[in-house]
Symmetry: C2
Subunit: 282 residues, 2 copies
């Protein structure tokens, strides 16, 4: 397992692999890897001859008041995890390697990004689409792996790949949870002991929503109200959104008459956490 | 020489060539090919084993009041020209093949597009960047060829390729002119006899600017004023812009103290024509 810092080194390594007829999987991450990332690396290792993990806290997808500076970083820990799960290369560039002076191009879209996290984080998906496009062009992978926890991100990337004719396959992998139900996230490290307990309200409300769908509830507003009321019962929680949207368009729908995503974003203290479920998986 | 209409056919053909170790050049065009395009195909044929010419009037780069509907088309003529100049494949998709229902992604940039044609044609470069990105992803060429007549387009595409780490080389080719000096353009076909004569004022003003630079004039406003005054002497001409900009940033400069582009856009009757020169080529 190698760690490289420059685009040229990644290109050279991938070119060498491709000349040997090997397939390449890419797992784009912002580092501080946990079992959620590990499951993506496992999936890539299973499907491809070689796996590249990018480990880059992308400044472009953070808003001016967000947690870019404090976002946790631990390359040594990441390297051990990548190696243990069969990854072959970590690409860990400095911001200046990815965004040189005069950088001004971007990739974005006019729908899908206007709902859910796109409302609370207006520059977020432009940053995600741009950096992911760059990583795809640098690594030129056969497949790329993203977690379903960032459900809107996964939908946005699938749509971008389809619209712009990018020549690779996008694989979405299931949410990985702590034993008590909290969805794994690098941001969980921000939580103090009381907040960590309070954060359980996210997965509890997800289970409540899933149960209602399982019992046949079709009225989205009833499901949303029940979930909101449960979340509000937790004093440390503040709702950013609880919404049910069409999987394809990310637009809100009144009734469960098509494949839908139920997505929530909740502040626990100062930490914004997200969770979700797809009605088709219930 | 083959003509194909679908992305899948292009991909299959290029994959076959690449599996044989052949290099591929791409010449993106909007069709109605003239000797300017022919020079690009010649250059690609010289540098690469195979040459793909895309022939697609891209709706996304036309503004609502522009000439999308009337833009001239003649695939039969184009096919003969491509074949005569050694091209191997024409990609001639319908708009619905390039922009399916729900299409909403785009590539754009925050600088370089804010001056010259970007001011008169606000959605133009977003359309150019998006369609060129798509063509690059579909064809995956080793090299792509663009004319220096669209000087700002060439600068924008070079910048996009660099910013987004697209893995190909961009080649800029010299302006090709009619024997009397008029820069070749598919839009010249719009001109009636009187306008065709009046249109010579563009290349005349370009030669005037070049002469002043050759004689050592460094004051951009003097060069611009002399060119404007010459163009204004032609009753059928109406100036859109006459500007001198930094080659790298496309920002206006007061003095010729760095590599610069002198670019003009002039309406002759209802037809908007462009021409330019690079001070380094004088």
């Amino acid at each position: 397992m190698k760690i490289v810092k420059t685009i040229a080194e990644v290109r050279q390594q991938v070119k060498e692999w491709k000349s040997q007829g090997l397939t390449v999987g890419l797992v784009p991450t912002m580092g501080y890897l946990h079992e959620g990332h590990a499951s993506l690396i496992d999936a890539s290792h299973r499907d491809n001859d070689r796996t590249v993990v990018s480990d880059f806290v992308n400044p472009m997808q953070f808003g001016p008041t967000e947690d870019l500076e404090s976002y946790p970083r631990d390359l040594e820990h990441d390297a051990k995890l990548v190696e243990a799960h069969g990854g072959d290369l970590i690409f860990n560039p400095e911001p200046s390697e990815m965004y040189h002076e005069g950088f001004s191009s971007f990739v974005d879209m006019t729908v899908l990004t206007q709902e859910l996290c796109g409302l609370s984080r207006p520059v977020h998906f432009r940053g995600v689409c741009t950096v992911v496009s760059k990583l795809f062009n640098i690594v030129q992978p056969d497949r790329a792996y993203f977690g379903k926890k960032d459900a809107q991100q996964l939908a946005v990337i699938r749509h971008m790949v389809d619209d712009l004719n990018m020549d690779l396959e996008i694989i979405g992998c299931p949410i990985v949870r702590e034993s008590d139900g909290l969805a794994k996230s690098s941001r969980n490290t921000y939580l103090n002991e009381a907040e960590r307990k309070a954060a359980l309200i996210l997965s509890k409300s997800i289970r409540l929503g899933q149960d209602m769908v399982k019992k046949g509830e079709k009225d989205c507003s009833k499901i949303i109200e029940a979930m909101k009321s449960l979340i509000t019962s937790e004093p440390l929680a503040r709702i950013d959104y609880v919404k049910i949207v069409d999987c394809a368009t990310m637009q809100q729908i009144p009734a469960l008459d098509r494949p839908a995503l139920c997505a929530i974003a909740v502040f626990i203290g100062k930490t914004r956490l997200i969770d979700n479920f797809f009605t088709e998986d219930v």
